[in-house]
């Protein structure tokens, strides 16, 4: 297995369509750019007959929120700032969306940050609901995100912690020493995204076979599949069908 993700993306696959380069400064206004859409219906693989073929849109995730965050979120943020002295340096942004609180944390601070999250009596996030990876190939320098969800049974609150790392240096600290439940979750995220959790006791594949090449949930890893034939007609595999997204 090499460090790049094998197998190579399908040459004519629906997911490998190159998008025009994004101006990196423009991409970060109001959140992180996640996609480029062209034309009226964002169809790919065929012409746009709507007359709006030159229409271009950059789709961004919700941007950082300003205080007050609302609800109990300010309380949580204050408690964190009090419990973790390097809060200002550790937290890149706080995002409130859909009544959920997200802290974007720099990876160097992750371990101490979640330690405070768990141990401080005003926070008491006893339960970690695991880590989920997300791959944003469009976000140069922040391609891979590790998303943690925490639950405080004591205070009946939830919080999300998100860590972004570049694809060229996919390392972030393991939090298994603080939340042992993340053992399998981190192995799964390594398996599917290639995120290396430094300090994990045994970072091995968990779902895929041990000798599997590549990390299947990454966006540059093709879905694969074979055409479906029915009564002489042939339908392409799902990742090569027409998409409107």
């Amino acid at each position: 297995m090499t460090e790049t993700n094998l197998p190579e993306p399908a040459a004519s696959g629906g997911i490998a369509t190159p998008a025009p380069a994004v101006d990196p400064d423009a991409a970060y206004v109001g959140g992180e750019a996640v996609a480029q859409r062209r034309g009226m219906f964002a169809a790919r693989g065929s012409g746009d007959t709507s007359g709006y073929g030159l229409l271009q849109r950059v789709v961004s995730l919700p941007g950082a929120s300003a205080r007050p965050y609302g609800g109990t979120f300010d309380e949580t943020a204050d408690a964190l700032a009090a419990a973790y002295p390097a809060y200002g340096e550790a937290v890149e942004a706080v995002v409130v969306e859909h009544d959920e609180l997200t802290f974007h944390v720099r990876r160097e601070h992750l371990l101490e940050f979640v330690q405070a999250l768990r141990d401080d009596p005003t926070l008491r996030f006893e339960m970690c609901m695991g880590v989920s990876g997300v791959h944003f190939p469009e976000q140069t320098g922040r391609e891979l995100h590790a998303v943690y969800h925490f639950l405080s049974i004591t205070h009946n609150r939830r919080v999300r912690v998100e860590v972004s790392v570049p694809d060229t240096d996919r390392h972030l600290p393991s939090i298994v020493s603080v939340y042992p439940t993340c053992d399998w979750h981190e192995r799964e995220t390594w398996d599917f995204f290639g995120l290396v959790f430094d300090g994990h006791p045994a970072l091995t594949r968990i779902m895929m076979p041990d000798d599997w090449p590549g990390h299947p949930q990454r966006k540059d890893y093709p879905l694969g599949g074979i055409p479906v034939e029915y009564k002489g007609a042939e339908i392409p595999p799902p990742d090569q069908r027409r998409a409107y997204t």
């Binding site: 961004s60 919700p62 695991g130 969800h149 939340y179 042992p180 439940t181 053992d183 299947p216």
Partner: protein, 461 residues
């Protein structure tokens, strides 16, 4: 189904002579660098026992599964034994990985329901609901879900909780040799599955809950049928309770077995009946209600024994609590829509019963083909393209029969999910196997794993 156990010896090599593959009563035997490996196929344990005695092996590694009737599917347990005591327990998973999460990224938001229902196949309606709640959160339509749809969702989930707990009791009983419990459990489950078939058309893999509501309103006569079944189930549940609650053998096999206290649960992220067996009344239906659970009267069942018996009692009592909720749902059902108003999201038509069975609604076809060009366009767009979901991420969690089923959904503003991750409770709870089993007898491993109630479809996804 043939069952194969590999028994590995570490230590002296020993001579290869006793027992060959041709001898039906002897276990297959081969020498490896790790020691002698026996392949057991049944009725051949004598040759293993004598093999162990011959070689004075100090460390025996038993490979239980992934095809073993007592491992709840394709779970692989790697047990290191000292006599009959388990000194180390390791769990191997991934044998049922089907790449559902990846597949979702190539289907539209509505089609994804058809995939997620197959994850935890004993609790399909929980998978569907958890996913739909997350999508609805991203769409910002949580408040617009019609009351009737919410009541139906709650009712279906509670029926599903019963069918899932019944399988837990049935297979758990079977694995410990209580075959009558299995017969009872599956008999009752069949009653629930009949209701599912009546309402959704399928016993499993329903794809019934959809973003915006549910796929289909209850058919005529369903309310009466569910009411009758509730009465029947209430009587029948007593059979299982009478059979097992004070059963000396059952208690001997489960009491004090698979011990995991609150600290263990919290650090391992364990939720559901295992957590409630430590005495903590944590139930998302109460603490963070969804689908209107705050309107129902039910109790959170707890025990403080931290063992397999406590978990069994909790599941048993939750059956009755679920029955209570289903009855309240039947009372709360008011006529009304079961899909959001927004025609840009709602599936264009409900199915209708024709002379040849359930199928397309002829009224709807008349409408789009003969009356309204716009309706045809909307139908076409929604079915081929799907609806777009605003960019962002959301996490929704429901209390599944096994604990917190969390769904993390990311959208890039398109008509397909950008990333969907299921935090399946079975996956997390299975990590507790080592903590529950190490130091106990090998027979207790079966009881402990049964009390975790893992469903490998959910673990591996």
């Amino acid at each position: 189904m043939p069952t194969t156990d590999n028994i590995t010896f570490e230590g002296s090599g020993g001579s290869d002579g006793a027992g060959g593959a041709g001898d039906a009563a002897a276990a297959g035997r081969r020498e490896t660098t790790e020691g002698t490996v026996f392949t057991v196929t049944g009725q051949d344990w004598d040759s293993v026992v004598s093999g162990v005695a011959d070689e004075h092996a100090e460390r025996v590694v038993v490979n239980m599964g992934p095809q073993h009737p007592s491992t709840h599917g394709v779970l692989r347990l790697i047990l290191e034994l000292d006599g009959e005591t388990v000194t180390e327990a390791r769990v191997g998973i991934g044998y049922l990985h089907t790449g559902i999460e990846k597949n979702l990224e190539f289907r539209n938001w509505t089609q994804a329901v058809t995939f997620v229902t197959r994850m935890d196949y004993l609790a399909p309606l929980f998978n569907e609901t958890a996913y739909c709640l997350a999508v609805e959160k991203l769409l910002g339509i949580t408040e617009q879900i019609p009351e009737r749809a919410n009541v139906i969702r709650v009712m279906m989930m509670e029926l599903n909780r019963m069918s899932s707990h019944l399988v837990a009791l049935a297979t758990g009983g079977m694995e410990l040799g209580a075959l009558t419990a299995m017969i009872f459990g599956f008999r009752e489950r069949e009653t629930v599955l009949d209701l599912f078939e009546l309402v959704t058309g399928l016993r499993m893999n329903h794809a019934y809950v959809r973003p915006g509501g549910v796929a289909q309103d209850l058919p005529s006569g369903a309310v009466e049928k569910i009411g009758e079944s509730v009465k029947l189930l209430r009587t029948n549940f007593k059979d299982t309770a009478n059979l097992l609650v004070d059963n000396g053998i059952w208690k001997a096999r489960t009491e004090g077995v698979g011990y995991l206290d609150l600290v263990g649960c919290a650090s391992l992220g364990v939720t559901g009946p295992i957590l409630r067996a430590t005495g903590l009344p944590h139930d998302l239906r109460k603490s963070q209600p969804y689908c209107g659970y705050e309107n129902y009267d039910f109790n959170v069942v707890t025990r403080d024994t931290c063992d397999a018996y406590g978990r069994f009692l909790i599941r048993l009592e939750e059956l009755s609590e679920s029955l209570k909720i289903v009855e309240q749902c039947l009372e709360r059902l008011e006529p009304g829509p079961v899909m959001v108003e927004d025609r840009k999201i709602a599936w264009p038509a409900q199915l209708a019963l024709g002379s040849d069975g359930l199928g397309n609604s002829l009224d709807h076809i008349r409408h789009i083909m003969g009356e309204s060009m716009e309706a045809l366009i909307h139908h076409f767009k929604l079915v081929t393209e799907g609806f777009a979901v605003p960019a962002g991420q959301a996490y929704s969690a429901v209390e599944s029969p096994r604990g917190e089923l969390g769904v993390h959904v990311v959208s890039d503003g398109g008509t397909r999910p950008y990333r969907v991750h299921f935090r399946d409770p079975s996956f997390t709870n299975l990590q507790a196997t080592a903590a529950m089993c190490e130091g106990s007898m090998i027979a207790d491993v079966v009881a402990a794993v049964a009390s975790i109630d893992p469903v490998m479809g959910g673990v591996d996804r």
